[in-house]
Symmetry: C2
Subunit: 367 residues, 2 copies
């Protein structure tokens, strides 16, 4: 099991892709049936690794054959994505999942059917290929969506530009979908703060929190994008920076934290390459409501919130954590959630001047 996949050199990935294609050709030439082994990505094969604390794929694998009536299509799709990835890396171009779908929606000379007809097919082929050649799809030059901004005492090199995250005005650096090729030139920060709301990021940025607390602040809107998760992971593994997650006191915020820390079920096959098991929850806790006098600003839980709360609290990693269970109990008892913005009622800059410094000083976070 790989715990951290350093950004690979393009050449390595290219060699792996070529080796895969060569093995298919060789088997055909030898009159054999080309095949490839792929770990099964079904729920029953998703496990939680107690020791290393993250989701991963279990031992179920299946072998997929070219000359097999039920498998020829998915085999061809996998080969199609591999060929596209090789081309992309060679030409140093990147595409989105949606573009990948349109590019593969074509026939092969001599055949009448498209390689793929639906995006689900090309998406699945991309995920299969990630497993087969043990690389993230970002390393195959197939990108997810771009979202989010970052600021802090960091200098990076990217596409030949030297970029200083501390000198980008009110906007910050826009985090790309793919951070594999970013080179960290200077990292002068003690920790990283991921914020689930861009409006709160703007609050902290205006209050110069990254300067005062010597940290990096990064946000998207809601779930962290793959680009941001990978950025957090690189800062954590390559530069030893602790990662803190700042969200609302609601089941959705806690789920955002959970995905950053342990990975998600749908992306369990890459969680070792995206998750940060040491991440800490610095967001609003249900018990903070009383502590910070936010009783007036509670928002009653809706049915959908309650349902989500019950799902999240029963995740294996939360189930065994008494502190978390106390907070879940309290949320259920209050029958209410609370938002980060409610801290503005205590003062416009309360979150920057009091909440964050206090929490950090008292190590008032959850694991």
């Amino acid at each position: 099991m790989h715990f951290y996949l350093k950004p690979k050199k393009k050449e390595e990935i290219l060699l792996t892709l070529k080796a895969l294609g060569d093995s298919f050709l060789k088997e055909i030439e030898e009159g054999k049936n080309p095949s490839v082994e792929i770990p099964t990505r079904t729920l029953r094969n998703v496990r939680f690794d107690e020791k290393n604390r993250r989701l991963y794929l279990g031992g179920y694998v299946s072998r997929r054959y070219l000359l097999h009536l039920a498998q020829i299509r998915s085999f061809t799709q996998l080969a199609g994505v591999a060929a596209l990835a090789k081309k992309l890396i060679e030409e140093d171009k990147h595409v989105s999942l949606r573009e990948t779908f349109y590019i593969l929606k074509r026939t092969i000379p001599g055949l009448k059917r498209n390689i793929v007809d639906e995006q689900e097919e090309s998406n699945r082929a991309v995920e299969d290929l990630e497993l087969v050649i043990n690389a993230l799809r970002e390393q195959l030059h197939i990108n997810a969506n771009k979202l989010g901004a970052v600021a802090g005492n960091v200098v990076i090199r990217d596409r030949g530009d030297l970029i200083d995250w501390s000198k980008l005005g009110s906007g910050g650096w826009s985090v790309p979908s793919n951070v594999e090729d970013i080179e960290f030139v200077k990292v002068d920060a003690k920790f990283v703060l991921y914020i689930e709301k861009s409006a709160v990021w703007e609050r902290l940025h205006e209050d110069k929190v990254w300067k005062k607390l010597n940290c990096i602040i990064v946000a998207s809107q809601g779930q962290a994008t793959r680009g941001i998760r990978r950025l957090l992971q690189r800062l954590n593994y390559e530069h030893g920076l602790p990662i803190f997650v700042l969200t609302d006191a609601d089941p959705w915020g806690i789920y955002i934290y959970s995905v950053i820390k342990f990975g998600s079920i749908t992306l369990a096959h890459v969680s070792d390459r995206l998750a940060v098991p040491s991440a800490k929850f610095l967001g609003l806790k249900p018990s903070d409501v009383k502590k910070y006098g936010l009783e007036k600003h509670l928002i009653k839980l809706k049915e959908i919130d309650k349902k989500r709360l019950n799902e999240v609290r029963n995740y294996e990693w939360f189930k065994k954590n008494k502190e978390w269970q106390r907070e879940f109990d309290l949320m259920a008892k209050m029958d209410a959630k609370a938002e980060l913005e409610a801290l503005a009622a205590r003062g416009i800059t309360f979150i920057s001047d009091k909440y964050l410094p206090e929490k950090l000083k008292n190590e008032d976070w959850l694991d």
Copy 2:
């Protein structure tokens, strides 16, 4: 009617806010009933200005009194937001609409009711204040959401930093929610391209379109944020740059264009401060499907698409435009929409190397 509101000096806005407060105090001291005149923001007061081609508020106004059982609450809310805005400008701090709500969810000494109980109330008070003192809420330091990235041959000054939009690697500059205080130091570009999808922005950015075509590329996800609309307007008015809008060939993309160009019904009261009436549609047209051989990549219209198509095609400004009506007819006849990413089927960089240069050269856009 104001067609373009240059970023106001903080001092001006502060004086206007103070004058408003003073007038209330004076009327109270004189034993009068303080009041304020506000244009009505109902649909029947939203007009389309044929000559200047944008939505605006008609002549209906209403006067709101402090000592009036049905109005005391909304009057107090307006005064509450005005007091907050004054404080924000004086302290040089910004807040979001959500923070505004939490800050105003408090009682006034001697009274038992909160100034506001729901965010709708504080939102409405902010919109009222925009009209009363003729300023954008961004100028009152109350920000909308932040989203999107920009790249191009532009240098700006923002919060003391000198930021070069051509030297920010793969990410670009993250556009803040508020662009009022940005100072343009160098603008070396012929036009601006707004793109409705960040994945397509990354395509154009990787292909160096802004360098090759000497333009600025900017994107959010879907509807342009207020920050981006204002950025487009400033580049258009202050620097004479034409604005082009690049979207899918579907009713939603055309609506995004429509809002950038003419304004939206809900924000009609500020459309003269956000709209760019000279903007052009450079997105995929239904007639482009045949031209670029995308027949294979059509997506059948759903009921919700058809409904939206009928709404959009009946907007006053599209109704009188024969070219647009032909395109709407064609979309209805094909019973299908098409996405920008489909151009990837013609070649990974087709959109950058062929589509855009050809469209621009042949002036193949819609008004």
